[in-house]
């Protein structure tokens, strides 16, 4: 058995350290002397590098460390994965581009052609992270006014059409959202493999859609027992609906040579969070069920970082340090590997890992943590006791 490990391409800039919140890689914070991609040259002028130059470095680091690819997240203020992936296609060799996107934003026939073209550009390295959740005002920003359950219905239909035109020379479809008459990809494009599909969403509407079309069910890290139940429910429910789901976890790591060093970085990072950041992160609006589960942790109210330790090596304040989910793994290399092993034992079939800064941490996690997986870390930890 092997497990697919993905890394993450941060599409909203990257912090040079988890201890400070300034995005000094990319142009999401005001450019200063220490900034890079873009940076300032000796005359204080734009040095001509762009954020893609840094993303290229991360992708190459990840593929050289044995990560199979990377998640490329998409939000209103990020760069777009459909642009990043082809820009980096020819500079990378094995790195799979996991494109996060909302199906409602693209015509499904056009999306099939885009995807087949990208498969040709990359030698079959396209993966999808289909996003349907979120909603409310955030959704209207994108020009999308469907209600929550309708969006999953539309996702299902989108993938019906997407796969239908790919697999059939002449495909017709009469759905609520999409109608196609005698559509199909050309033989040139249809010869490509349909990208693997990763799905998120905890609601029943999401699981129905996943059962039909997804290869992987992707969850943020949650407290382990809660996650075990969730994976069991997903596998059971989708099996009942006639599908089969592998389960995957998205999680940030702070892995250091010793546990003390790891918590020290967390402590410093936590103490550097300003009140404004705390308030902003406490007040985000969404109707996503997954987001609500995470919100129960209430990191915005904690006064000391220790209050957010929810289990050994599990810290619930990551969203104070950078955008994204709250819960992550903190510990020595051996402890981090042991926690990942435990998650594999509880039903995880794949991971999307991340650490800040993404470039250096891809090397660190790739060199220090991944080789310990498969119970090697546990043996080391037991020997140490």
């Amino acid at each position: 058995m092997t497990i697919d490990f993905y890394w993450r391409l941060p599409t909203h800039g990257c912090h040079g350290t988890i201890r400070h919140s300034a995005y000094d890689r990319g142009d999401w914070s005001p450019l200063g002397p220490h900034n890079m991609a873009p940076g300032l040259d000796r005359d204080g002028k734009d040095d001509g590098f762009r954020y893609i130059d840094h993303l290229a470095e991360i992708a190459k680091a990840a593929e050289s460390m044995g990560f199979i690819g990377g998640l490329i997240p998409s939000f209103p203020n990020t760069d777009d994965p459909w642009v990043i992936s082809p820009l980096l296609a020819r500079e990378t060799k094995t790195f799979r581009f996991m494109i996060a996107f909302q199906p409602g934003f693209l015509n499904p026939v056009h999306a099939a052609r885009l995807s087949a073209s990208l498969q040709r550009a990359t030698g079959g390295r396209t993966v999808f992270n289909i996003i349907t959740g979120g909603g409310g005002p955030a959704q209207l920003w994108w020009g999308d006014s469907f209600s929550h359950d309708d969006r999953y219905g539309r996702t299902t239909e989108f993938l019906d059409v997407f796969k239908g035109v790919w697999k059939n020379g002449s495909f017709s479809y009469e759905g609520r959202f999409y109608q196609v008459t005698d559509g199909g990809l050309s033989p040139l494009l249809a010869a490509e493999e349909i990208p693997e599909i990763w799905f998120s969403g905890s609601s029943d509407a999401a699981l129905q859609s996943a059962a039909k079309h997804a290869d992987y069910y992707l969850s943020w890290l949650e407290p382990f027992d809660q996650l075990t139940d969730k994976f069991a429910r997903v596998k059971e429910r989708t099996a009942a609906l006639g599908g089969e789901q592998k389960c995957a976890i998205r999680v940030d790591l702070v892995a250091r040579a010793t546990e003390e060093e790891a918590w020290r970085d967390i402590r410093i990072g936590f103490e550097n969070v300003g009140d404004e950041t705390r308030r902003r992160l406490g007040g985000q609006r969404t109707d996503s069920v997954g987001a609500a589960r995470q919100a129960a942790l209430r990191p915005s109210e904690a006064r000391r970082y220790e209050e957010l330790i929810v289990a050994p090596n599990l810290w619930g304040g990551f969203n104070l340090l950078r955008g994204g989910p709250a819960l992550g793994i903190v510990g020595s290399y051996e402890q981090c590997a042991a926690r990942l092993d435990e998650l594999i034992a509880r039903g995880a079939d794949a991971f999307i890992l991340a650490g800040t800064p993404h470039l250096e941490e891809a090397y660190r996690v790739g060199e220090e943590v991944l080789p310990l997986l498969g119970r090697r870390a546990e043996t080391l930890l037991q020997a140490a006791e």
Partner: protein, 321 residues
Amino acid sequence: MTIRSYWQLDVAADPRRSEAGVRSSQGDTLFRDVRTGALNRYDYYAQVGQAAAQTAFDGLFLPYRPESDDSRIVAAAIAREVPKLALVPEFPAWVGSAVYAAKQAVSFQRLAHERLGWAIAPAPDAGTRAGDGDHVSEDELAQRTEEFLTVARGAHGQRPFSFAGSHFEVQGGGFEPPLDRVAFPQVFLQGETEEALTQSARLADVHLFRPASLPALRSLTERLDALALREGRSVAFGLIQPVLAREDAEEARQDARRAGVGEGTLIGDYAEVAARLADLAAIGITHFVLIATPSLEEAYRVGQHVLPRFRARTETVRAAA
């Protein structure tokens, strides 16, 4: 007026060249064939781009070819290897959300130094569109294109941006820093009908004409000028122009007969073709999309021999003016 010349990278032209599938279906070869799937047609696209860059074209025009690789994917895939070329992919207005299209354009502009153009592909017949899942009726197509561009530009340039039309709806849209710092792509529209000219007058930065006689082109450009003036705008004129240029005029005519080139192709020796292009520049055409196949060899030929003569002529005219 600065002249901009683009080479056409047509992904459906020379379809067998560098294509892995064609290679494998050829059976055993006497020569030891060590090529793998790692070498593919995108290498060829990148080479055509290099040819255009090295012979001093200003950009690449990538026509919409639904049977082959997507124009925007190809443009992005080769963008970092041709850092100075403008990239103008053509795509239809039914690709999806106009906000999302704008967001992708912003990313391209940010990451690739603001070189993107948007050419909106003319709509095909209703049957083809039904196969693409596009059921907007014929008489709403112009309106849809207008809304697509209005929403994309609005989301790009204003915050908050709201819009409620027949085809697109947005509330509280618009990009935050740093996504709001790049220019919107230059918009290229096409068509010879009064409706197309009227639309360009309102929406296009550049209007691309098809080859026609000088008087016919002159009357079209004058009409478009008048329509644009009424909108308080100005639209640059462009031309999608096939060329067949050879060292010797007779050779050019011979090759033209053999290849069966289309009507409107400029045929002649290098100096003749350059002179015809200069005539077109003299009536106000400033954006030239030049076409010839095979794309790679012809990019070198036209770039090395026609473009310098063409530039010399237009610069003489400018100096005289």
